[in-house]
Amino acid sequence: MTAPAAENTATCSTVPDDAAGGFRVSLQNFSGPFDLLLSLIAKREMDITQIAMAEVTDEFIVYLKVLQQSDGAKSLDETTEFLVIASTLLELKAARLLPNHEAETEEDMALLEARDLLFARLLQYKAFKHAAGWISGTLFEESTSFPRQVGLEAHFAALLPELIFSTTPDQLARLALGALTPKTPAPTEVGIEHLHGGNVSVREQAAIITALLKEHGALDFTALVANAANHLEVVARFLALLEMYREKVIAFSQDAPLDALNVRWLNPEHGWDPDALHEEYGPAPHESTETSATPSAGTQEEAS
């Protein structure tokens, strides 16, 4: 299954400066996001219940970018699969970027649950991978034992009831036609195409937020997303806010839990430009010329 992908995506990049001494991934070695995650975890020899989530997340995102740069529908397929995992990891990462409030808020609990779920799936995958290893070994051992499987001796074959064969040439042709016509496989999952409203750029959303905040000085989150076209844009604006918070161009305040989230423009002296924001989160075709090393430097720094 991974073979076709391997053809158009050569062994991909090394990420330098990694704390663990650099990690190298080659696309054809992984048959899915869980596979990759497991490998990342194994490489760092981390207790998976105590994972330094942000670090793994960063490596994962770097890998994701590399994956996106490869061509072909296959790569698109894989990228979407990976995005499921990436979104979970991103959520966890977002938690780290946010100011550390009390650990018992509802969101924290939700994040913990998301993490547990991811671990549960990871453990499950690991177990099946282990089982696959056993099956492979056993199949190999058993391949040296050949069953007796010989044709029926003539005098027994002669005892078979006379074959009733009423099939006409036309019927046979229809059967052949049915068998030789390519089958469209039955859908395995609910279509999700309608959920994708096209690519949303975090950078573009950051520009919109910047314009709004420069005009009004301070706004609450509801106002900032009031003209968002869809949920995806809301998410992108939220991510943009996180980035801007990290860059110290805005500040948050919230009077009480679940109260409106106020965003204040800090009027930074260094002249914040949304264009400086790297598109780490979404597919950004125009960025595909970037080498994987460049964004990785950004993500590493961000994690620290």
Partner: protein
């Protein structure tokens, strides 16, 4: 000699010798004769019915034959194995290098890692839909499932009439290839995660537990 066979459909083994006992070689040879023509494992009950003796006698004879073939210093070149719910003659493994030259068809083709993992999921979770396998493996599994179907290792489960999705399960050929008597003989799924001290401390709920359950 065939008259005797048809005369007594299911004689009580205690009521004197059965027809097969009167033939040279007796029950043991009779079992061997049937084993020569089968092309899939045959269960003791089926043998008992064909040979018109009690099932216990057949089972005892099968065990006797197996021991005889394996016998000490001079084993035979074949062995009698119990798998996939029945008994079947196999060439002795020691001679595989010689025998394999005559068995050129596909038997030894290796499965890819993706196919093996998918097979594992189906084996432990059967019957299971493609969607569910994909969710566990985190990738689309359509082409791998097709490969496994083609290889005869899995097949579509009979429709349960409830869900619309096609469900897959392993075949008896799968058991045969693995030398297993039944699915329940699969080793328990056991996690061996690197760096995890004690898996029991980590309570993985539903997805995990049910997997273990199905194997027992």
């Amino acid at each position: 000699m065939s008259q005797g066979v048809n005369a007594a459909p299911s004689p009580n083994p205690s009521q004197g010798p059965a027809a097969v006992d009167l033939l040279p070689g007796g029950l043991d040879a009779g079992i061997e004769a049937v084993l020569m023509v089968i092309d899939e494992p045959i269960g003791a009950p089926a043998l008992a019915e064909v040979l018109e003796v009690g099932e216990e006698r057949v089972t005892a004879a099968l065990l006797r034959l197996r021991a005889q073939y394996d016998g000490g210093d001079t084993p035979r070149g074949f062995e009698l194995r119990e798998l996939a719910g029945g008994w079947r003659i196999f060439s002795r493994r020691d001679f595989a290098p010689f025998v394999s030259r005559f068995v050129i068809d596909g038997q030894t083709a290796r499965l890819t890692q993706a196919a093996l993992e998918t097979l594992a999921v189906i084996a432990y979770r059967q019957p299971v839909s493609r969607g569910r396998i994909a969710a566990i493996r985190g990738v689309n599994v359509d082409s791998v499932v097709r490969t496994l179907l083609t290889r005869g290792l899995i097949h579509e489960a009979p429709d349960d009439g409830e869900s619309g999705a096609t469900l897959y399960q392993t075949t008896s050929y799968f058991l045969e290839r693995l030398g297993l008597g039944s699915i329940s003989e699969l080793p328990r799924l056991s996690p061996h995660l690197p760096g995890v001290g004690d898996i029991d401390d980590y309570d993985v709920d539903s997805p995990w537990k049910s997997a273990n359950h199905e194997t027992t």
